[in-house]
């Protein structure tokens, strides 16, 4: 019986932690005023927030006798896809010049997002990709 009570408290704590992180992510999204800094809050704090909520869901499933493993998959997909969407949003920001232009790379010509042909009909300096 004590294990069940302890589990319930743990589930509640995880739910609160997850909700707390998710709301901090939302606050960050509203508070920051530049597209690049705005990107930081939801893409990352969000993952841990959702991770805690999913852990709570799994724990509740085990306690109520209906174990569920879907949450592991959701977490896996989330951790694999979150960096990709963040990367795409960052690339769009760079491409549309809606943020400070990044410093030039030390070794190569330019950043791949900025590597576009200057005039129509003229090929870019490095078209190997």
């Amino acid at each position: 019986m004590t294990a069940a009570i302890l589990g319930t408290y743990l589930t509640a704590a995880l739910l609160l932690i997850g909700a707390g992180f998710a709301s901090v992510a939302a606050i960050g999204l509203l508070k920051f005023n530049d597209p690049m800094t705005r990107l930081h809050a939801p893409t990352k704090i969000g993952t841990v927030g959702i991770g805690a909520l999913l852990l709570a869901s799994m724990l509740h499933g085990f306690l109520s006798g209906a174990p569920s493993y879907h949450e592991l998959l959701i977490m896996g997909f989330l951790f694999v896809t979150a960096p990709i969407s963040a990367n795409f949003i960052a690339k769009v920001n760079i491409h549309q010049r809606s943020c400070d232009t990044p410093p030039a790379p030390p070794q190569d010509e330019t950043w791949s997002t900025l590597n576009t042909p200057k005039e129509p009909g003229q090929s870019p300096p490095h078209s190997s990709q």
Binding site: I27, K44, P83, A90, P103, S112
Partner: protein, 167 residues
């Protein structure tokens, strides 16, 4: 002969295993039939998608990878608290975002992908772009007064370990 047949049947054994496990997890219950069907999917899907998997990384040390994953999960949790603190306490006028350029020693595409993913998942840094020939990585930092220290930490903490994993 048997080994060649096995290699033809399973060009990517880890992918086969991963697909089978994902299938079983999707079913949410374990039974022998489900395991067999998962294994069939795990064999058929890599065979169909083989043209998009031209080659595998030369070597991959899974033991070191497991330790790296634990380190990254720990860093994610610590860094989340730091970013939550920044979001709640640092006003916009005092925020010091910065671009930093990380020169890459890694050459394997898988290793660079993993480094970029790690950088994005650890809050406070987002990997934004790769230079056109892949020699440096562009990273955006949310709040820092010492960009060089952030770059050195990425290099020593993550890139050095990934170099050992994909050595």
């Amino acid at each position: 002969m048997a080994r060649r047949l096995l290699h033809w049947l399973m060009p990517h054994p880890v992918l086969t295993l991963l697909l089978a496990v994902v299938w079983i997890l999707l079913q949410n219950q374990f039974s022998a039939g489900m395991a067999v069907f998962g294994l069939i999917l795990g064999i058929v899907i890599p065979l169909i998608t083989a043209p998009w998997w031209p080659d595998r990384p030369q070597s991959f040390r899974s033991g070191k990878m497991a330790r790296y994953a634990l380190l990254v999960i720990w860093d994610i949790m610590v860094a989340n608290l730091q970013v939550a603190w920044i979001v709640l306490t640092v006003p916009n006028t005092k925020l010091r975002p910065a671009w930093i350029v990380v020169p890459l020693e890694l050459r394997a595409p898988e290793a660079i992908t993993m480094l970029a993913g790690t950088i994005t998942l650890t809050p406070g840094t987002v990997s934004a772009d790769l230079s056109d020939e892949g020699h440096s990585l562009l990273v955006h930092v949310l709040h820092t007064t010492t960009p060089d220290a952030v770059r050195d930490e990425i290099k020593t903490r993550y890139e050095a370990r990934l170099k050992e994993i994909f050595a």
